[in-house]
Symmetry: C2
Amino acid sequence: MIQSFTIDGKRMEERLKKLSEMGQTKDGGVHRMALSEDDFQAQELVAEWMRQAGMTVRRDHFCNLIGRREGKGSGKPVIMMGSHIDSVPNGGRFDGTIGVIGAIEAVQAIHDAGLQTEYPIEVVAFCDEEGPRFSGGLFGSQGMVGRIQPGDLQKKDAQGITRYEALKRFDLNPDRMADSIRIPGEIKVYLEMHIEQGPYLESINEPVGIVTGIAGPAWIGVKVKGEAGHAGTVPMHLRKDPMVGAAEIILAIHRICGKDPSAPTVGTVGKIQSFPGGSNVIPEGVEFTVDIRDIDLSRRDRVMAEIRSAIDEICGRYQLQVEIEENMNVLPVECSDHVVKAMQEASESLGLQAPKMVSGAGHDAMLLADIADMGMIFVRCRNGISHSPKEWAETEDIVKGTKLLLGTVLNYV
Amino acid sequence: MIQSFTIDGKRMEERLKKLSEMGQTKDGGVHRMALSEDDFQAQELVAEWMRQAGMTVRRDHFCNLIGRREGKGSGKPVIMMGSHIDSVPNGGRFDGTIGVIGAIEAVQAIHDAGLQTEYPIEVVAFCDEEGPRFSGGLFGSQGMVGRIQPGDLQKKDAQGITRYEALKRFDLNPDRMADSIRIPGEIKVYLEMHIEQGPYLESINEPVGIVTGIAGPAWIGVKVKGEAGHAGTVPMHLRKDPMVGAAEIILAIHRICGKDPSAPTVGTVGKIQSFPGGSNVIPEGVEFTVDIRDIDLSRRDRVMAEIRSAIDEICGRYQLQVEIEENMNVLPVECSDHVVKAMQEASESLGLQAPKMVSGAGHDAMLLADIADMGMIFVRCRNGISHSPKEWAETEDIVKGTKLLLGTVLNYV
């Protein structure tokens, strides 16, 4: 059945290019902050493409851009597809955008085929998934599921503009945001296509993957404290050097997270700092972040407990003090079994062997899971790179992902 | 013989306190930048104490404050004692100052005893030993031995004032600095007393130590480069994480420097940074400093070679690139045998068991060794702490050090 619909790869490629011109950086990257002039221009462009695909377009009070194609009856729940079109500072052109343009393309194909669906279809470009401007992402999807409080709108950007003011400038009325919240039952299923942002599909030479769940990150901040001293005057055996303790902890995290190669557990120390930080001073303290993710909450908790006990053991051995701060603890989210199944069937009928895989990154879909059944499709990206001007996905792969998305949607409409 | 001279501990304690009021910080520390108004006031105070001890006082063109008590004949080489009175930002009251005040006290004792010496005695408060203001220390002692070039005077402080201008403001003539250089033969011996700045004397419960040499630091900067990635999306086995490589290198440095407990080799990683440094980003690069010191140059070189080969092995294993930059390479300096011997004899006659030890920190004495025989005395300091308001040395210990200094001087005058 999918074969009778047309996905126009050339059009999608042109649209991705066109969209990348809104907020384009000198080195070919995209710098499109949410609720900026560039974001507005990009939304206008996307709105126009939605209309071409037979949708009516509106913005909700979270500045989510929503295109809607009605189904046969009224009062039916929505089949929703989407992603986001804002970018990180100096990011790439594919992150988020392929999910929006792919969803529009899928609706276009349905529209061109003259298919009258049972259920209404909506395509959403969620506002501010990335979150750098107001230090907090997934705004539009959090808003849609009712997770945004009025106080959250008082966060300021670097220029001192609140999100509230920024929404007002887009002619929205944030005081009425409650009107834009969707409740369970309103959305039958939410489908999102996204670049993988990791190297897995490339490493197994597959263009697309079927996401079975989104790993929840647990973040801790570790402060190891020892005794500062002059680099030249404290004999090695009299030192209480937090740098050495921190190094051993970092290796322990790497070992603990990697020991079961069949598990998708990942652990990362991305940021580290020593105090006072002089090259000729044994540090008094070393601080670093730990990001642990897994799709299986109990395994993630087990790994975290193992890391904490390694930290205690190591700090005890080096006579160091340690403080651990819990900075984030997001629950992993599972994709709906019937969506995964629908995707597998679509994959087969397209002659693809899309593997099942876990999303290590967070996505709007994670929030939509609060109120709807949900599924995600990943598209291979070059070298696993994202959030960079070097971010790249082949049109051919995006087309395969879009066909898989369409095939899945057809199962529900 | 030493017993017939009087060292006045109470006076030294009062002078150290008085000096600490020039540039005192709120938490009882000392913030006395070289060539500042506070430094000027402190020099004036020290000059007055020099005069009281029977010395004539001048400043040379490097702003070294020099007190001189003539000997019997003219044209004889000088017996020089000294240290510095400038501090690091928010430092303590003992670092440097005890060497200057102790030297003045020793001259005062000689003066009070009416001893006419064969050789002239000079006490020097060297300018800018610490070096934070113009990013380069040991200025006065480098100047005295002829290591300062006119270009070095063009270094600016944070306010854009050059050292040249700062010297001018002290009514000195840096254009005539060549006149202030001392040459081999002019100084018979240079003696410096200083707080240990390390925990060794405290750990063996001895008030003073005899320095046999000053370890030379070798500094390298290590840049480990891997592959940046999203903390959630790159499986552990596909990572090229420079944080993990850096951690293993830091542990290797600690192991290599500590493996011979009888050697004074020390190795420190004091400063570390990751790029881009996001808590949810596998770093692209990690940079850190390495400071290796030893009194034995060949052993230090061997240790450094071993560290470099460990770095290569580790980076190879994790598929990381590495760049190593040599940032400093100061040769270790040995104290003169006859000075060490004179100190040991003085120690015995004072009923002390001053142990021989190595200085891990650099001192003005290291420069004076270029043109003169040299020796140093270390005084125990609490918890080995220096460069901090918590820096502390007991008057009783400073008195013992000063007696040892006097006893050593008496061997030469």
